[in-house]
């Protein structure tokens, strides 16, 4: 099948926006444009982006500051506040942030160089961050703009000052996003329910979902050692996953992956979890992967914890793994690879929440910011997210309880059934034909 191309634009503000764009790399004309970095952005504008990035990283870590941390965090959360969805009402009135962004675009020429670059070829433009999309929409350039929403609910700033004007279309990862867009005044015909773009290497073909189905089947076997989950759902699982029967036993120990956010704020959690799970790791009942991201200091700290806890001999030997790469794309490749064998993904409810569609239960770490709060609500709503059932230092107790009562397997299965998994393929359809079908069944969504 001929591959059509699009401009794919992302920014570096944590890993979330880039993680959303990365599965679209095969469709990206001239590769993914990582705007706001020194190489892609003129110096005058680069300063604005650098400032934004500093604010982002500060806000991710501000809660840990002594004394002032809590009040500062509360203040930041108030600034990022998202209006409650209920009661349903018109929320289209622009906020201060929307006005400020509009001014940056119209007076300061935000993203002007990006638009010049993209205007060379009138291709569709996929944005995973609002500022570039709003600027492109404001310039009314040739070629359709699509803005990919990266959370399950979101701030008004993602929609331009007058949502009824312009030609920007929105790619919604879930129904709540569509509802929110309507509340912000976006016309229904400009909202496309695609699902969050997930890595194709974790799915397989769009028709067969071979990789996803096989990985999920093996995962469910590991997550249900007492067969409590299967006693309720066996027929459903065998039917959807195209299997004949259940094998007598699962292969290998449970594999927990703990993802540290792009700003590296959860390092201390990783130490406590490792300490708690050490006996299980040593006994071969548990495999733990910690995803360090792209920060060397974070990786070195984690390595230090592993050595201090006397787990060095288990490192990269089936007991403990660390995922790190200084190159962001290599890191994402490694992370996606490790997800294939991951049985439980322990993460703050970031954009990774949408990875529950791969049939991976999300063990929810405390959220940072309002978007993550709302992602947590969404995960709860579809039963794909599980709360930590006790303090971190007792992970070795409650995690195995969750395992034995089939709760983790249930969350894995609910995520697979209820979350959309074909986002990448549907966006590729859009690029190619300008339209895509929402799909009805779990294998079509």
């Amino acid at each position: 099948m001929a591959m059509s191309k699009a401009w794919v634009v992302s920014v570096l503000m944590g890993l979330g926006h880039l993680r959303a764009a990365y599965p679209l790399r095969d469709s990206a004309c001239e590769g993914i444009i990582l705007y706001g970095t020194r190489r892609s952005t003129p110096p005058r504008e680069y300063r604005i982006w650098r400032r934004l990035r500093k604010i982002y990283y500060f806000s991710s870590n501000v809660g840990k500051l002594p004394l002032l941390g809590k009040p500062l965090l509360d203040l930041l959360l108030a600034v990022q506040r998202i209006q409650p969805y209920y009661p349903r009402r018109d929320l289209s009135r622009p906020s201060l942030a929307v006005r400020y962004l509009g001014r940056l675009v119209s007076s300061k020429g935000l993203c002007r160089d990006l638009l010049v670059r993209m205007n060379r070829l009138p291709l569709p433009r996929i944005h995973s961050f609002y500022a570039t999309a709003v600027a492109s929409d404001h310039a009314a350039a040739a070629g359709q703009d699509y803005l990919l929403i990266c959370d399950s609910d979101f701030n008004r700033v993602w929609v331009p000052r007058d949502p009824r004007l312009g030609h920007l279309k929105y790619l919604a990862p879930c129904t709540q996003v569509r509802n929110r867009l309507l509340a912000y005044g976006v016309a229904a015909e400009r909202i496309i329910l695609t699902g969050f773009p997930l890595p194709k290497e974790n799915i397989g073909s769009r028709e067969g979902l071979e990789i996803l189905r096989e990985d999920l089947f093996q995962r469910l076997l590991r997550l249900d050692p007492k067969r409590k989950f299967f006693s309720y759902h066996q027929r459903s699982v065998l039917g959807w996953l195209g299997k004949e029967s259940l094998p007598p036993a699962a292969s290998g120990p449970m594999h927990l992956t703990f993802a540290i956010g792009g700003a590296g704020a959860q390092c201390d959690m990783a130490r406590i979890i490792l300490q708690s799970l050490k006996p299980a790791i040593e006994a071969g009942r548990m495999r733990v992967t910690i995803s360090a991201g792209i920060h060397q200091k974070v990786y070195e700290r984690l390595l230090g914890y592993v050595n201090q806890l006397g787990l060095a001999d288990k490192l990269n030997a089936g007991g403990v793994d660390l995922v790190y790469d200084s190159d962001i794309y290599s890191y994402l490749d490694k992370f996606n690879r490790i997800l294939r064998t991951t049985d439980v993904l322990w993460t703050k409810p970031s954009e990774l929440s949408f990875y529950c569609a791969l049939g991976i239960p999300i063990l929810m770490a405390p959220p940072i910011g309002v978007h993550e709060e709302l992602n947590r609500c969404w995960l709860r709503e579809i039963h794909a997210g599980v709360e930590a059932a006790g303090p971190l230092r007792f992970t070795h107790e409650w995690l195995f309880d969750l395992l034995e009562n089939g709760r983790l397997a249930e969350a894995a299965w609910d995520g697979f059934l209820k979350a959309r998994k074909l986002g990448t393929y549907k966006i590729e359809d859009l690029i190619r034909t300008g339209a895509c079908a929402e799909g009805l069944t779990p294998l079509e969504q």
């Binding site: 990582l34 592993v306 050595n307 794309y329």
Partner: protein
């Protein structure tokens, strides 16, 4: 009040040098009759990144062909086969056929640390369970590797590092450079380690356990930083690995440096230090008693010149002691002793000028390339250029 504060700083400065000297004397190079390694001789790959000719290259390299250690190989990394050091390596390889030698042509990179760029490519050819990274201008005694391996085994360290002894001075600038290496650099290394268990690794000699390095994905992990030695030490320390130094000295042969060469090297190191430890670097100005003492005649019109002479004399005595203990026995010409007082004073004035250079420049010339550095000596400035726009 100001006068007392100034005198305190001056006294502190001399005390620090006194401490450097004391530690240097305590852990000065010594010969040992026999070094017992038991029955285990882990294979060592000696990695030598090369770039053209340096002073006494034949004798330097020969010292690595004549080590007592029974289980080692030599791997040379060259930019290309046109490198001027290649005939020397081939000739030595012919003279010592019993020593396994590999030559790896690596190319050169200006966007990464050139030395690490080489090491990362040499690593693939190395069969040892220990890597000993040494510079081309170093020379070692026959038992050096035995000592380092003994320390590795004794302390279960993953990195063993060494103080550096500058030797071979045949010119005033080379004498100044060697004196700076012996007292300031090695004094720092030994004092920091022995008194505070703080590592200061100088990349001229690092014995690294291959398995531990593997946890970082090999040398390329450090390629974004120009001060690879410091960053390696820091990463191993953060990563919970053990570092050790038993004060096995490594000679740095430096015969013919010019004033310009001395200035450039000192400025390069100063630029690295400022980016690695800005606060410590700013305070370094207080470790130049000769330059500081110029204020004495202004602060104490009556006895200022006498005090200045006293400070200079103290510094000369300290440096002379260091020279006599470390370098004088190493076939250094007697004329060096006569030049030494001048060398001490001149060196410290040059270092005062050098001190200010890093505040105005972050670009340095090294291994044939001009490299701009940012925080922690990251090459090219902010990390995103290298890491975030990736492949």
């Amino acid at each position: 009040m100001i006068s007392i504060a100034f005198l305190s700083i001056l006294a502190f400065s001399l005390i620090v040098y006194g401490a450097f000297l004391a530690f240097t004397l305590r852990f000065r190079p010594r010969r040992e009759a026999r070094i017992d390694l038991g029955s285990r001789f882990p294979r060592v790959s000696i990695l030598k990144p090369m770039k053209n000719l340096v002073d006494d290259i034949t004798a330097n390299l020969e010292s690595y062909f004549t080590l007592d250690y029974p289980n080692y190989e030599l791997i040379f990394g060259l930019d290309s086969l046109d490198d001027a050091s290649l005939p020397v390596i081939r000739s030595l390889g012919g003279r010592f056929p019993e020593i396994p030698v590999s030559i790896v042509t690596t190319g050169h990179s200006d966007e990464q640390n050139p030395k690490i760029f080489k090491l990362a490519r040499m690593e693939a050819s190395a069969a040892g369970e220990l890597f000993w990274v040494t510079d081309a201008n170093t020379r070692v005694a026959a038992d050096t590797l035995n000592r380092l391996v003994r320390e590795y085994q004794r302390s279960s360290a993953h990195v063993v590092f060494s103080p550096i002894r500058g030797t071979g001075s045949r010119s005033l600038p080379s004498l100044m450079e060697n004196m700076s290496l012996n007292l300031f650099t090695s004094g720092n290394i030994i004092t920091a380690w022995k008194a505070f268990r703080q590592q200061i690794i100088v990349g001229k000699s690092m014995l690294i356990e291959k398995a531990a390095l593997g946890h970082f994905g090999g040398f390329s992990y450090f390629s974004a930083f120009l001060a690879e030695d410091f960053v390696i030490g820091e990463a191993f320390e953060n990563g919970g690995f053990t570092l050790s130094c038993d004060c096995t000295w490594i000679d740095n042969v430096n015969r013919t440096t010019t004033f310009a060469g001395f200035f450039r090297r000192m400025a390069r190191w100063a630029k690295l230090r400022l980016r690695l430890k800005p606060v410590f670097y700013v305070l370094e100005v207080f470790l130049n008693p000769v330059a500081l003492s110029l204020a004495l005649p202004l602060l104490f019109p009556a006895a200022g010149w006498l005090a200045l002479a006293g400070v200079w004399s103290c510094k000369i005595v300290i440096e002379l002691s260091s020279y006599l203990v470390l370098s004088h026995g190493e076939k250094e010409p007697r004329s060096n002793l006569l030049m030494l007082p001048v060398a001490v004073i001149l060196k410290d004035f040059i270092l005062l000028v050098v001190y200010f250079v890093p505040f105005f420049s972050r670009t340095l010339v090294w291994q044939g390339g001009s490299i701009a550095i940012g925080r922690r000596t990251r090459i090219g400035g902010p990390r995103e250029i290298l890491a975030l726009e990736g492949s």
